[in-house]
Amino acid sequence: MENYETHTHDVLIIGAGGAGLRAAIESSAQGASTGLVCKSLLGKAHTVMAEGGMAAALANVDPKDDWKTHFKDTIYGGKMLNNWKMPFNHANEAPERVRELEHWGAVFDRTPKGKINQRAFGGHTWKRLAHVGDRTGLEMIRTLQDKGIHTGIDVYMECTITHLIKDGDKIAGAFGYWRESGKFVLFKAKSIILATGGVGKAYKVTSNSWEYTGDGQSMAYDIGAELIDMEFIQFHPTGMVWPPSIRGVLVTEAVRGEGGLLRNSEGERFMEKYDPERMELSTRDVVARSIYTEVKEGRGTPHGGAYLYISHKGADYIKKKLPSMYHQFMEFADVDITKDPMEVYPTTHYIMGGIRVDGDTCATTIPGLYAAGEVSGGMHGANRLGGNSLSDLLVFGKRSGEAAAAYANSVSTNLNIQAEQVEAYANEILAPFSSTDGENPYSIHQDLQDVMGDYVGVFRNKENLEKGIAEVDKLKDRAKNMKIEGSRMYNPGWHLCRDLKSMLMVSEAIAKCALQREESRGAHSRVDFEGYDDEKWGKVNSSINLQGDSMNVTTTPLPEMPDELKSLFTEGS
């Protein structure tokens, strides 16, 4: 085959959002030679779009807050399906990770006493989210980026990894291409951390960027790793509705955190019906279903959403606390949110499920392979609380970096990568160039997005899910023969061919897990199985792995919480 570059590292990190960057900083600090690969330019990863804040029990605003309350909130929010060890570590370590970020240059909004300010968010008992207006993700990624480039990490920008490679049962490297030249590149590494984020691009209406195509989930699955709980897709309650080209773009939960009110077309504050206690600050699964129901029952806005009011807070306050939202609506929708309400509707936002990891080390079921952030599963259970993602990235980014570096240090044998295997991957990736009668990948992608929206959306039932699975199957067949134009140089059509393969894999997993789980829990709502089934489904995770050529979907027991933590839930909240 053609010549390709080879790079060698102790630890290779795939994905350079919050989790990947934090992992790289830690791995490098442990003395491991560290490579960081990203599909985009550095600093553009999806973390940049996070808005509302990062949850950590700093107790700067509400002094009663502590790790126990944060832990309980997270597990209640996750409807008891979390891998308890993860929220435990998260609640304990998030404050230190946030303070550390400040010492690396992040400039959070302040309390009157000069501490890091914290805001209210859905499902959090106390004001808990450290934030910078409504651009907290940008603050986080830029801070980590600026720290990272001074720690001796090798950054490989605009590079797509297409395959993970094992030697025996151990991870040995990764194969991919440079987006610019289309040339191949091989990374040899003793350990690999996946930090590739989510899967939102399998849906049409989504707040996610193009990078969110499920690469990490799919590559790990391909080499035998176990995935869990893929049915739990978070539909964020408030995406933009109008105009059509902007549909799905996020309206931060901070609007509600800062006092925003939801009303239907009859002017009714409808959350009174669904969660009278927490109202607009109920958990995301509840608010999303409420908006969906209001619209379905004919009380929607002209463009089919709910009204979200913030104008009562006054123009100065809004421009200071929610500047991006002000500009976003002004520029894209011609709506002045200091005067008029926003129109909002649920949008695909986040996947709670992902690669099964150890709650302390982020180790997957493949020796040497780690996963951190959205690509991993277990932290958020059946529903994620807003603000818990950014701190998740920091806590488990650091933990994975530490563990992967230690593991790499312990590997004494030489890892081998077979040239024939690399050649087979290269041929697979190049196939669309030689097809004469293949399909356009863009049309398959559009059809997939329609299928997932129509059959595997907010509300699900057996009939639709079965249809969805059958449709995804047909799309997988169509995707076996794709054809593209042009050269290998910076060719988005070609890039989509590989991304599509990942999206098809995660779509199949989402639909099959959703069909298997015959109950409604958190973000997974079955109209044919309403309510929790704690006896059966409350005790198991969905589990997915590759067996032979087909997807094996089953259940595994939920890790059991130690008694001293269990008692937190029986003492009364």
Partner: protein, 243 residues
């Protein structure tokens, strides 16, 4: 549904030409939507960088009808109907392919700026009034359009001498950080080349985040450097001390 005509640069480092496309326009559509339509319907290999499509990541900087702007933020209905919309790559950086340019110089330059160095290991006490001016600089989404229109970089190609507006405000954010302990004035003058900026404010005009790059960032930096190096009293003191 009306129709728009886009003339898009297609080519690479060896040159290229405009190609015309007809694109149906729906309400609220932006230029980036039109480029995506072209990819899906006509030329799947049209290269354009983008990520968020919400003006938050700064990836899709292009020159539309000669004016540098984010393609995701440029509404189709702002352009005169019936007239072609010309979409080109930003000019101050080498073209890689179509609308994608090689902006690696910016990443190399960023590495030269010493990191934030806090004066204390203790938890910070800082007040909102003290951090607000640096929060303005930290809104930067690194679209590099300020670098693209800076005369020193675009017309004189002095990338060897001047870091450009994006990195002036990056240095400013550290200089003005209440907890920063290192003196960056020598670095600003000798390495970053703050003296090269001649305050035409073109950078401020194109900033999609409305950062007052010149007034709030570069001018105060110039003043600090002037205080150290060009203040007559300190000049005399330096001579006496032999520094």
């Amino acid at each position: 549904m009306s129709e728009a005509i886009l003339r898009v640069f297609r080519g690479d480092a060896n040159g290229g030409e405009e190609k015309e496309y007809k694109v149906p326009v729906e309400e609220g559509m932006v230029v980036l939507d039109a480029l995506h339509y072209i990819q899906a319907e006509y030329d799947g290999d049209l290269a354009v960088r983008w990520n968020c499509k919400a003006a938050k990541c700064g990836s899709c900087s292009t020159e539309i009808n000669g004016k540098p702007q984010l393609a995701c933020k440029s509404r189709m209905d702002k352009f005169p109907e019936g007239q072609p919309i010309r979409v080109y790559p930003i000019k101050a950086f080498p073209v890689m392919k179509d609308l994608v340019t090689d902006v690696s110089w910016n990443y190399e330059t960023n590495k030269k700026i010493p990191e934030f160095t806090p004066a204390t290991d203790e938890e910070f006490t800082m007040y909102q009034d003290d951090v607000e001016r640096i929060q303005e600089f930290r809104k930067c989404i690194e679209c590099f359009m300020c670098q693209n229109v800076c005369h020193i970089l675009r017309n004189h190609d002095r990338k060897d001498a001047f870091f450009g507006p994006r990195f002036m405000i990056k240095i400013a954010e550290r200089v003005m950080h209440p907890m920063e302990k290192i003196d960056r004035r020598e670095f600003l003058k000798d390495e970053a080349g703050v003296g090269y900026c001649n305050i035409t404010k073109c950078c401020t005009e194109v900033c999609p985040e409305d950062i007052h790059i010149t007034d709030n960032g570069i001018i105060p930096l110039k003043e600090r450097v002037a205080d150290k190096y060009f203040d007559p009293l300190s000049w005399v003191l330096r001579k006496i001390k032999g520094k």
